[in-house]
């Protein structure tokens, strides 16, 4: 067979998930193909040209810390940086950037093209091939077959996609593009459940026809903060966004035409995101408000096109034409592209393992919007994890699973595979129970060592990380050891009113150690949060106990007659791996968990056999992090040769034998290895 059609890993779709998946797989040494409907739309921002935001910005930092691409792509192509939630505590600080849409795309394409081991090719994938239930490859339009040992599907909104603008329906996953038609059928044939979601975009306007003088200017930050831990300073000049609002006249026209909106005429039945409502939704649901904000966001440096953030709509063109001129600053505005809604197939993500491999077809991974999420950042995070795990599956390595206490990425994937989705899923900080620890500023401290251990963090990033860790450590040491009037500097800094400048004034030796600004910020945050971080750390310990109370993967829930039928159905569908997970499944009440625990306790004797099965299966063993112990030898490859006491260390279990009968396989208790990273531990 022709080698051109034989790969280790095939990634279908070159959006934000596909890029990360393909790059990760190729960087982990796997021969990878990235197949896209159109090579010119690699990394396209179908919706607003911005990356990051509250909780999402943290995700981008995490992707970067693991060795992903999104942070670097954003830094290189952004036209405006803003750190959101500046007025709140450090854990809430969330970077966001407007990007040059085209520049981002070009750089994404270039990054993919220049990646060794990675083939970018324009193909329309129309079907999946399996052999004995395992993925075997994909079939493209024209009957071309690609063979692979793992396939990652990242088709976004393209599956059976249908766009709506008023009464007009057009097949396609994005304005100007076609839909992916064959793949849904192929997934259904394999037994996957597919459902429909809806999302929408606003009209885009020609900036030449906007009267900016009438509008409120929203400039970027004066000290733009990059996303990537590798990016030095942002030096490119930044562009402004502008703010305008709807008004009573606009609302009146929308109300008059509400029956023509597909969501209200019954033309669209699918669920859309509540937190990202269309303008018609806002007007119906918040009838008492007579204005809604609109952010006019430039789409790039080499275009005058503006994105009207805040008036996503699927109203007919004539209604869009009628309302735009009524908006301040848009009196003579020309619409370049009309807003539309898109309906698409997604695969309810409870059909996935936490590795993002499907439960049904080994070797098949799903990532991104196909899993019912929204957002470039959420998609990229899944793509990264799916790509990593697709590559690892080929070497029969345990999958990388990041848990809820380690990263927003962990929260995201756990929510998806355990709780499922009933509307397009977007990340919020409130979804993370340990958010004081999941900050954008420490994403590298949380994750870069994991990235290094799996082989995704290159030497450059690793060296940078080690430098930062030692800078932080030097500062911590000074803060701990220097005392002023009996109080350590650390203690003084903990006082809410003390600033770093105050401290430098007290202790001039800090001046020299303060050259790394990010290191200074790190120790300040750690001190200011002090006791709260300790508390979250203790919470994580409790969390970990439930997470590691394993449930046998093959537990027969029908043999627990006391379980409510609804609970039994949910457990059978999702097959939680731990009591912690089981408790998070929607519709499960505490009595169900009690019943399950009672059953597990009763079956303690029989459990060992079940545990054997559990372990023997290619079960992901959590990669845990814990504070580096001082008396342990330095890791191989340490740059300094010393063992910095703060460095994270990865602990992993040796994988249990993967063959042999249940009777002979040794029972290995899945050991608790996840310990929280405590930046203040001594």
């Amino acid at each position: 067979m022709n080698d051109r059609y034989r790969y280790d890993v095939i990634v279908v779709g070159a959006g934000h998930a596909g890029i990360e998946a393909a790059l990760a797989s190729a960087r982990l040494g796997k021969k990878t193909a990235l197949l896209t409907l159109n090579c010119d739309s690699v990394g396209q921002m179908s919706c607003n040209p911005a990356i990051g935001g509250v909780a999402k910005g943290q995700i981008v930092r995490e992707i970067d810390a693991l060795g992903g691409a999104m942070g670097l792509l954003t830094d290189a192509t952004a036209i405006q940086f803003r750190l959101l939630n500046r007025g709140k505590g450090a854990a809430m600080h969330s970077p966001r950037a407007q990007c040059d849409k085209k520049a981002y795309q070009f750089l994404a394409k270039m990054t993919v093209e220049s990646q060794p081991n990675l083939t970018l090719r324009q193909e329309a994938v129309e079907g999946l091939m399996t052999l004995h239930g395992r993925i075997e490859g994909v079939i493209c339009r024209g009957g071309v077959k690609y063979h692979a040992r793992a396939v990652v599907i990242t088709t976004g909104t393209f599956l059976q996609a249908l766009m709506h603008t008023g009464e007009i329906k057009t097949p396609g996953g994005r304005a100007g593009d076609a839909a992916a038609t064959g793949l849904s059928g192929s997934l259904r044939e394999l037994g996957f459940e597919l459902k429909r979601f809806k999302t929408g975009t606003p009209p885009r306007i020609n900036g030449r026809t906007i009267d900016f003088a009438e509008l409120e200017r929203q400039p970027g930050d004066e000290d733009p903060r990059p996303f990537s831990f590798l990016t030095g300073a942002i030096v490119e000049p930044q562009l402004d966004c502008h703010i305008t609002t709807t008004n009573a006249d606009v609302h009146a026209i929308i109300r008059e035409n509400i029956h023509r909106a597909p969501m209200y005429s019954g033309q669209i039945q699918s669920v859309g995101p509540r937190y990202c409502p269309s303008i018609e939704d806002k007007i119906v649901r918040f009838a008492d408000r007579d204005e809604h904000q609109i952010f006019l966001e430039p789409e790039g440096r080499n275009t005058l096109e503006y994105y009207c953030n805040g008036i996503s709509t699927s109203l007919p063109r004539d209604v869009q034409d009628a309302i735009i001129p009524l908006i301040p600053g848009l009196g003579r505005a020309e619409i370049m592209r009309y807003g539309y809604a898109v309906e698409y197939d997604y695969a309810p993500p409870v059909q996935l393992e936490p590795s993002l491999e499907t439960k049904r077809v080994p070797g098949l991974f799903l990532a991104g919007q196909i899993n019912g999420t929204t957002g470039y950042e959420e998609a990229a995070a899944q793509g990264l994890i799916a790509g990593i795990n697709a590559a690892r599956s080929i070497d029969r390595n345990e999958p990388l699973i990041i848990d809820r206490s380690q990263a927003y990425i962990g929260v995201l994937i756990d929510d998806l595979v355990v709780r499922g989705v009933d509307e397009p899923y977007r990340m919020f900080t409130s979804r993370a129970e340990f958010r004081l620890l999941l900050r954008h500023d420490n994403a590298d401290l949380r994750l870069t060592e994991i990235g290094r251990s799996i082989g995704l963090v290159d030497d450059v990033r690793w060296a940078r990380f080690r430098d930062r860790v030692s800078a932080i450590e030097r500062l911590r040491e000074i803060l701990r050891s220097v005392r002023i009037a009996g109080d350590s500097l650390e203690r003084i800094l903990r006082r809410p009113e003390t600033t770093w400048a105050d401290l430098v004034a007290l202790e001039p030796s800090l001046e020299a150690a303060s050259s790394d600004r990010s290191a200074v910020e790190q120790v300040v945050v750690e001190c200011k949060y002090g006791g709260y971080i300790d508390r979250q750390t203790r919470q994580i310990e409790r969390f970990a106990r439930l997470e590691h109370k394993a449930i046998p993967i093959d537990l027969d829930y029908r043999r627990i007659p006391q379980l409510r039928i609804e609970a039994r159905d949910q457990f059978e569908r999702i097959r939680p791996r731990s009591i912690g997970q089981a408790g998070r499944i929607s519709g499960i009440n505490p009595a169900d968990i009690a019943t399950l625990l009672i059953h597990l306790k009763q079956g303690a004797v029989k459990m060992s056999a079940a545990e054997e099965l559990f372990d023997r299966r290619e079960s992901p063993i959590e990669l845990g992090i814990r504070p580096f112990l001082q008396d342990e030898p330095a890791r191989e490859g340490d740059c300094t040769g010393q063992s910095p006491p703060r460095l994270l260390r990865i602990e992993r279990e040796s994988s249990a034998p993967k063959t042999g009968s249940a009777a002979t396989a040794p029972a290995i208790e899945p050991e608790v290895t996840t310990k929280p990273y405590d930046p203040l531990a001594t």
């Binding site: 935001g53 509250v54 909780a55 959101l84 939630n85 007025g87 709140k88 505590g89 450090a90 854990a91 809430m92 937190y275 918040f286 408000r289 809604h292 904000q293 919020f428 900080t429 409130s430 129970e433 958010r435 004081l436 809410p496 949060y529 709260y532 508390r535 979250q536 409790r542 106990r545 439930l546 007659p561 006391q562 409510r564 408790g583 009440n589 505490p590 009595a591 169900d592 968990i593 009690a594 019943t595 625990l597 009672i598 306790k601 009763q602 303690a604």
Partner: protein, 462 residues
């Protein structure tokens, strides 16, 4: 191992003679077993899944000549107390009849229910939250009316309801804080304002404290059971105190009524059970409203006597056992303390033989050392009985109290975070903690700790 699907039977009404007794069945065969010998008055077809169906009829019991008139009520899974098929036979409240009905159930394939098993089944079928289940268990275990009342109050949502409401309000607060964190950029999100937020949090913390205070009023939780000597002035309480306390005795005794105006404490060993014995000021006659022996007014008493009486009232309110003392010469009626466990004690029987009525009263003479050991034995026996039935109630209330205290603490910490202008994310952290704790009280959140209690309370997997 308990088979929680088999059909079980037990007498569900209080023991002792009463107009009506109930025998309860739960499990798949409940209906069939009940119908084995039940003959309805009217021969009507029974609907396929009866729920709350009442049938009048009679029961033919082996060894009984005439059929016993009974009512039969039937419930079907899942709409029953236990979530399983259930039957109840309401019969005349005679122990032999009820026993015979249970025997009939046993010979027809049911098994005797373990203590608390109906509750356990209800709990496992999601019919009860843990608080309610524990409360039911407390009812099962309760024997004294006071404890039963307290347990029943809880079962009826005595704490669940206010805590649920509280939790609901704290959830609202958290939602507000969270909205401001996640949607900072949204103009639609209104900021609650730090003062209003702080005030709202304080209000909820105060509400919790009030609930805790109610707990304190209702339950006592000393490490040692407290036994109090009470009775009219000059009843010889202090002499008895000295006799019981032995070498530690330090009560000043005199024939003048009102000698003991402060309280005296001693640790006394009653057959291995350590108790805290408390001597109190006697009841001075004119302080009483005779009708129900309540203190009418302290205003006219001398200051010391008045404060002593107040102190005594406090001690009496939180004691585990009252030793009601009366001179054998005294012909006044016994003072009584409704709802308190008490023993009647004749004192100074060396002066005169005590009346034979009531027979339960213990005769003592402290000066002669008569009856002191018997009194100790009676104290130990009564306390042991009481403590046993107390267990369930106390462990429940301990858990609730713990949860409430932690929630209160968390809210105070949240208020502090608001006041010191820490970020809202820290306020949210504390609110979440408070919610978690309140959730534990009403059973909305379960932890291993709570489950461990369930496992230790109910007989499972042993």
């Amino acid at each position: 191992m308990l088979d929680l699907e088999s059909t079980i039977v037990a007498i569900a009404s209080a023991s002792g003679a009463s107009p009506r007794g109930i025998v309860r069945f739960s499990g798949a065969d409940s209906h069939a077993i009940a119908f084995k010998t039940f003959a309805p008055v009217r021969r009507e077809p029974i609907p396929p899944k009866p729920s709350g169906l009442w049938l009048a009829g009679s029961l033919k019991l082996p060894g009984w000549f005439s059929p016993v008139p009974v009512d039969l009520s039937l419930w079907s899974a899942p709409r029953s107390y236990t979530g399983q098929d259930m039957a109840e036979i309401h019969a005349p409240g005679s122990q032999p009849i009820l026993d015979a009905i249970v025997d009939l159930g046993l010979t027809s394939g049911a098994r005797r229910a373990e203590r608390g098993e109906f509750t356990l089944r209800a709990f496992l079928h999601g019919k009860l939250d843990l608080t309610a289940a524990e409360a039911v268990h407390a009812v099962v275990a309760a024997e004294s009316p006071a404890r039963l009342e307290s347990a029943l109050k809880r079962l009826a949502g005595g704490i669940s309801t206010p805590v649920e409401r509280l939790r609901d309000r704290v959830l609202d607060l958290l939602a507000h804080v969270e909205a401001n964190l996640d949607f900072a950029e949204e103009p639609d999100v209104d900021e609650l304002g730090r003062e209003r937020l702080a005030a709202a949090i304080d209000r909820e913390a105060a509400a919790i404290d009030e609930l805790i205070a109610r707990f304190h009023a209702r339950d006592r939780f000393q490490s040692l059971p407290k036994v109090v000597l009470a009775g009219p002035a000059n009843a010889g309480k202090s002499r008895l105190f000295n006799a019981l306390a032995g070498s530690q005795a330090s009560a000043l005794v005199s024939p003048i009524p009102g000698t003991t105006s402060d309280t005296l404490h001693a640790i006394v060993d009653c057959l291995g059970l350590k108790i805290e014995l408390v001597d109190t000021a006697g009841f001075v006659e004119d302080l009483f409203d005779d009708a129900d022996n309540k203190i009418a007014s302290h205003e006219h008493a001398p200051t010391i006597a008045r404060s002593a009486a107040l102190l005594r009232d406090e001690i009496l309110a939180e004691c585990d056992l009252v030793l009601l003392c009366k001179q054998s010469l005294d012909t006044n009626p016994w003072i009584s303390f409704p709802g308190r466990s008490s023993l009647l004690v004749w004192t100074k029987i060396d002066l005169r033989d005590p009346p034979s009525d009531p027979p339960s009263a213990l005769a003592t003479s402290a000066s002669q050392g008569i009856g002191v050991d018997r009194l100790k034995a009676a104290i130990a026996s009564r306390l042991n009985d009481d403590l046993r039935e107390n267990d369930a109630t106390d462990s429940m209330s301990t858990r609730c109290r713990e949860g409430l205290s932690k929630a209160s603490l968390a809210l105070r910490s949240a208020a502090e975070a608001v006041a010191t202008s820490f970020g809202d994310e820290l306020v949210a952290l504390d609110l979440r903690l408070a919610l978690e704790e309140l959730g534990k009280v009403v059973g909305a959140v379960y932890t291993d700790d709570i489950l461990d209690r369930v496992f230790s309370r109910f007989c499972i997997g042993k």
